[in-house]
Symmetry: C2
């Protein structure tokens, strides 16, 4: 069984330790996204060097290429990508809906065509769990439907109830193993009553962890926080809480404040590839011409190679010249920044000064806003 | 002054130490190419980890972007790219001829338009030397004309004699500094008499090192070796000898055998980005479907991360999925392989067993030829 021990709370914020088959991870934790068996533009060593201790793999991408069976033959995802810490895999459902073609969904599951070669595939609760088992996930996610936004209350209810029936089938299909766990996903859109119904349904089934899904899909930060406030207090305190696909540094601070332990998002990696950097002093775009002659580091308080060894002018040059090292260095920086942010929040929770730390972090972001590019 | 001490010879092959303002480098040495201030797909740390101790920068690319003056303002090329070993810069001439548009060349120099934005620039012997000084090169190369292939003897003679007049102007323009040196470039096409005339002209001027230029431009390996045999013995034994833009592993072995000390080539880096790997057991293309399920390492005798931590199947997957990590890992491997090859040749020369080592290396390449992709 995978477990989460809460070490300290400060308001609703929690600091804890997640224990998995591939080691312990301190929470709150941010998991870089390793979509197709690689955190884009990073070696596994570099990911570790950022401080990251747990990564996410995408079932949809991996089932299509190189296929779950091939990953299993190669010794599993950990070995294939040389990542020896824990891995969480998503269910594939979200990306079937956002990437695949010609989808047909019913009670049984979803049939779709690959966005790569048009080949036909099926995903059901049982197949998703089997794939994640083949990949060797430490944390397996239930297949659900990510309710679109906006959705009427009736649409959100129907969608959520389908996900709850699928969650029961996932629980049945999951093979319990030491240090491994299955997480249920709370749905229900922006409707507090539906979120409560979803939590109750999942708790009745029982999971090693609980995710909040269907957020950061266009509802806005204020609404997202409101949904968390209505949902998180209903979750069992002794299980980890994971907010899926979120988000900006400000989203993370706000969600930790509301009791979330785990996060993943493509934002630091995707932004890094497009010259956007997150720093203690706000976000900036390295393509901006004002950096062309700037010999100062990107973030003087960051120890990553981009900041410790290079100038903003060099990073600007790399992006202008379309050199691969630009995305490599900025991805490294952004992941490192997210890790540093999580560690700072964790230390603040342990010291009982979360709000002071959060206020200092937020004031740093606002101190040096970049003019619009 | 930059110096080269020969430690041992074995036939015509030499092992030595190049002493520069940025440290010592054992020869024979292969310099990875850092075109625009970065060895493509590699951090400076990763380049060092391959064993590389000296890199090349391209004057043409750097003068256009970020410009030599900007590099100088940022503290020079070493500091900008975080490379603290020696750097050799080319003169820019070769790439003006292969990349720039609307070139006009006369006795004074060449006027051209940038391939990036069409802007107009001039390069003369004096300007090339000034740019390389601004970049902070340890080894500065004379501006020359790389004689096209094929060229008649008259064409090759005219071209070579222009390069010799430019070499004298470069010598005048170069500012001597401790640990820095200027290299002359032997031209003369495939004509031994012209090569001899070129060597005599350069020796009359006097340089800290001598390069053999105008090879690997289509003449074939046999002709290249024949030109080296006619040229290298005429060069002063106490100065380093650099074969520009060469080559395959077999080219390197053959040129070391003929007395060359220094090499650069885009082959390991460019090939790495297109899935081609050089190994002790021959070259192979990781896109080839036969690697899809191959759990074996790329080269079991290589200690690079691609070989030590991953399978051929994973590398194949990364290239199929167009993940940046594919080029990153294969570039790392190829540079490492070139460094290992140079070290093996050097150790063999020091031990007086160059031919035995070369034969063993060559038989390894032939042992496992890949079927045509």
């Amino acid at each position: 069984m995978l477990t989460h021990a809460v070490q300290a709370t400060d308001g609703a914020a929690r600091a804890g330790v997640l224990r998995t088959a591939h080691g312990e991870v301190e929470t709150p934790v941010f998991m870089p996204v390793g979509t197709a068996g690689t955190v884009k533009a990073m070696t596994a060593d570099a990911v570790r060097a950022t401080g990251a201790r747990m990564v996410l793999g995408n079932t949809y991408h991996l089932m299509l290429r190189p296929t779950a069976e091939r990953v299993a033959r190669l010794g599993g995802l950990h070995r294939m990508m040389d990542w020896h810490g824990p891995i969480l895999t998503d269910s594939g459902g979200f990306q079937v809906m956002s990437l695949a073609k010609l989808r047909k969904m019913d009670e049984q599951g979803v049939v779709f065509r690959s966005h790569i070669d048009g080949s036909k595939h099926a995903l059901s609760p049982e197949r998703s769990i089997a794939i994640q088992h083949l990949l060797g996930a430490d944390v397996t996610m239930c297949l659900d439907e990510c309710t679109p936004f906006p959705a009427t209350e009736a649409e959100a209810a129907n969608s959520m109830r389908l996900s709850m029936r699928w969650a029961a089938r996932c629980r049945e299909a999951f093979v319990p193993r030491d240090g491994h766990g299955l997480f249920g996903i709370v749905q229900g859109g922006v409707y507090p009553d539906l979120r409560a119904e979803s939590v109750a349904a999942l708790r009745a089934i029982g999971f090693e962890g609980y995710a909040v899904g269907g957020l950061a899909v266009g509802e806005g930060q204020e609404t997202m926080f409101r949904v968390l406030e209505a949902t998180v207090p209903l979750l069992p305190a002794d299980r980890p809480r994971y907010l899926m696909g979120v988000g900006t540094p400000a989203d993370l601070v706000g969600a930790v404040r509301r009791g979330i332990d785990m996060f993943d998002c493509v934002m630091p990696t995707r932004s890094g590839r497009t010259a956007k950097a997150f720093t203690r002093h706000g976000a900036l775009n390295l393509r901006n011409a004002r950096h062309a002659d700037d010999g100062a580091p990107l973030d003087p308080d960051c120890a990553c190679p981009a900041c410790a060894r290079h100038s903003r002018a060099y990073l600007h040059h790399l992006f202008k010249a379309e050199e691969m090292l630009g995305p490599m260095l900025l991805t490294w920086h952004n992941i490192r920044y997210y890790q540093d942010l999580m560690r700072e929040l964790r230390e603040a929770i342990l010291a009982g000064r979360f709000e002071a730390a959060a206020a200092a972090i937020e004031s740093g972001w606002n101190a040096a806003k970049e003019p619009a590019a």
